[in-house]
């Protein structure tokens, strides 16, 4: 069942085209990723789905409703985690949750949410005195307060340190496991790869690919490398004949095999048949990052976040 149906969405701000014919469906119970560099149109697409913006043309149905015409009904059933929203500095955790609980028809008990998100001890703490991770958990709790059927998470790990990011990922999995459909907006490859069932890759207002992360990585056709140290002698030409292998090089005692598709399994099989044992076996995983380059012909550049830049470098 489709929870969200988006068809031929167009949106421009003056001269700038934010969305240029975007179409996709989000199925019930899945974590759907919208991935793309900054300015690709992700947030615009999400804000249109939330009814906060209107598209120039195209149709959107969320839970069967028009987000603009039925905005209020929809906000009753949809939870939202906004990018870079803050609360009043001196409002306390318990106060915000109690206040927002009053906005919904059938809210979750505040005490239950405080326990669930590890905020019970911070109940009387002012918003500005919370750490980044605690603020993020509070926003997640707020998004889930109205027992939503669908939640939008927009850049949920922006500004978090690596440990807090991993914690947040666990929390998103918990939300998914409770049966809520999740739309996850991110410019972080690893995040999307880690969490999403399906991913739409947006680039300059267009969807350039839509599939499971694994399929996107595989179909991108970029090469993968396998490294190992053989114990014993490998018969000449043995590895080269494995389907998908494009090159075999040696570096000291190490063998580096480059290939595409399922070549690594083939290599392992012929080595086993030739009774050659290997040590230090490493398979360099391709990532969505590689897929992005393959799909758009240019690197996934994100100058706004040097920390992630470094991480992406490391992944290459």
């Amino acid at each position: 069942m489709a929870v969200i149906e988006v068809h031929e969405l167009h949106k421009r701000y003056g001269e700038t085209v934010a969305l240029d014919g975007v179409s996709f469906d989000v199925q019930a119970g899945e974590v759907f990723g919208l991935l793309g560099p900054n300015g690709a149109g992700k947030t615009t697409a999400v804000e249109i789905m939330e009814g906060l913006r209107t598209a120039d043309s195209g149709t959107v149905r969320v839970l069967g409703l028009d987000p603009v015409r039925s905005g209020q009904q929809l906000r009753e059933r949809v939870g939202v985690q906004l990018q870079q929203a803050q609360l009043q500095e001196k409002i306390r955790v318990g106060e915000v949750l109690e206040l927002y609980a009053g906005f919904y028809r059938n809210p979750r008990p505040v005490g239950e949410l405080l326990d669930e998100w590890g905020l019970a001890a911070k109940r009387n703490r002012a918003f500005k005195k919370l750490s980044g991770g605690q603020q993020q958990r509070l926003f997640l709790a707020l998004a889930l307060l109205g027992r939503p059927e669908l939640v939008f998470f927009d850049e949920i790990t922006t500004g978090l340190d690596p440990a807090a990011r991993r914690q947040t990922w666990d929390l998103v999995r918990r939300v998914r496991d409770s049966g809520v459909t999740v739309v996850l907006v991110s410019h972080l490859m690893d995040e999307v790869e880690e969490l999403c069932d399906r991913v739409a890759i947006l680039d300059r207002g267009r969807i350039v690919a839509l599939d499971t992360p694994t399929a996107l990585i595989t179909s991108s056709g970029s090469e993968q490398r396998m490294r190992f140290r053989p114990v014993g002698v490998i018969p000449a030409g043995l590895i080269e004949e494995v389907p998908g292998v494009t090159a075999v090089t040696r570096s000291g005692s190490q063998v580096i095999v480059t290939g595409t598709g399922e070549f690594a399994t083939g290599v392992a099989a012929v080595l086993a048949r030739a009774q050659v044992l290997v040590t230090d076996l490493r398979l360099e995983q391709r990532t969505l990052d590689d897929a992005f380059v393959a799909l758009t012909g240019r690197p996934f550049d994100d100058t706004s976040d040097t920390h992630d830049e470094k991480e992406l470098e490391a992944a290459r």
């Binding site: 939330e50 905005g71 906000r75 009753e76 929203a85 001196k90 009053g102 028809r105």
Partner: protein
């Protein structure tokens, strides 16, 4: 992108959803407004400076000047009003100016800048509710500060309770409407919280001077008195002083306050941005 005015689509949505969830949400709005007003009031008192400025400072002025011997006698320089009663009147003007030109625009500017309003847009309750809560808070603070001034003045320093109570209430309410609408307008046109504060302050000091807070308007030239009559704070202070002495507010002052309130509110409603 949305303004204070209900967009066409939202009005349609309310119509379409009348028999379903729309109604339930409509019933929740007054409850949300009450809850938000309560929280905003709590937050107001958590900022130590705000209550001191609004509730304490004007009263301290009355106490300070009231202790000067002979200050409570009627003065010909103040059109027959006593010095203490004049100080109590400018106390009301200070409250109106501080709330309307400083606290309200800065608070709303900050809420928009921090995304508090944006976050509310994603709930079934509209951010208009928070605007309403803020207006109730500053309106309530105006009345509370005024009552405090009248009580301290009359109990401690021989200031008469306003001799035309209905006229006095009208003057304070219209003055608040004018200054608070102006505050909304400042919040609407200012791109950031800092700008809201700066614009508010730019209006604050000339307003206070022209209203006759720093020096009584009786010392003004006739031309300056006419200018004072058509400024929102000038009209408000004149009306407060007139009604304190027992007359009704001058029609020019009523027209000035109503005019500023309407124009500022309409322009604010058309230009206000949630983000």
């Amino acid at each position: 992108m949305s303004t204070l005015e209900s967009p066409q689509s939202e009005r349609e949505a309310t119509k379409a959803g009348r028999l379903t969830l729309g109604d339930l949400s409509e019933q929740r709005t007054p409850r949300a407004l009450a809850a938000m007003t309560k929280i905003e009031t709590t937050l107001f008192f958590r900022e130590p400076l705000l209550p001191a400025l609004v509730l304490l400072l004007p009263v301290l002025l009355v106490i300070g000047f009231g202790l000067i011997p002979g200050f409570g006698d009627p003065s010909s320089d103040l059109s027959g009003q006593s010095g203490t009663e004049y100080i109590a009147s400018i106390g009301v003007a200070i409250v109106l100016a501080v709330l309307g030109l400083s606290i309200l625009p800065t608070t709303l500017g900050t809420y928009r800048e921090r995304g508090v309003l944006r976050r509310l847009r994603a709930t079934p309750v509209t951010p208009r509710t928070l605007l309403g809560a803020q207006l109730l808070l500053v309106g309530g603070a105006t009345l509370a500060a005024t009552v405090l001034l009248v009580l301290v003045g009359s109990l401690g320093f021989g200031v008469a309770v306003p001799r035309n109570p209905a006229g006095f209430l009208l003057a304070v309410v219209l003055g608040a409407a004018a200054l608070l609408s102006l505050g909304l307008l400042v919040a609407a046109v200012a791109p950031t919280a800092k700008a809201a504060n700066a614009i508010g302050m730019t209006l604050f000091f000339p307003s206070m001077f022209l209203a006759g807070v720093y020096v009584p308007r009786e010392t003004f030239s006739p031309f300056l008195q006419h200018v004072s009559d058509v400024t929102p704070l000038g009209a408000a202070l004149a009306a407060v002083r007139d009604t304190w002495q027992g007359s009704w507010p001058h029609p020019v002052h009523i027209a000035t306050m109503v005019g500023w309130a309407l124009v500022a509110a309409v322009v604010a409603a058309r230009t206000f941005r949630w983000e």
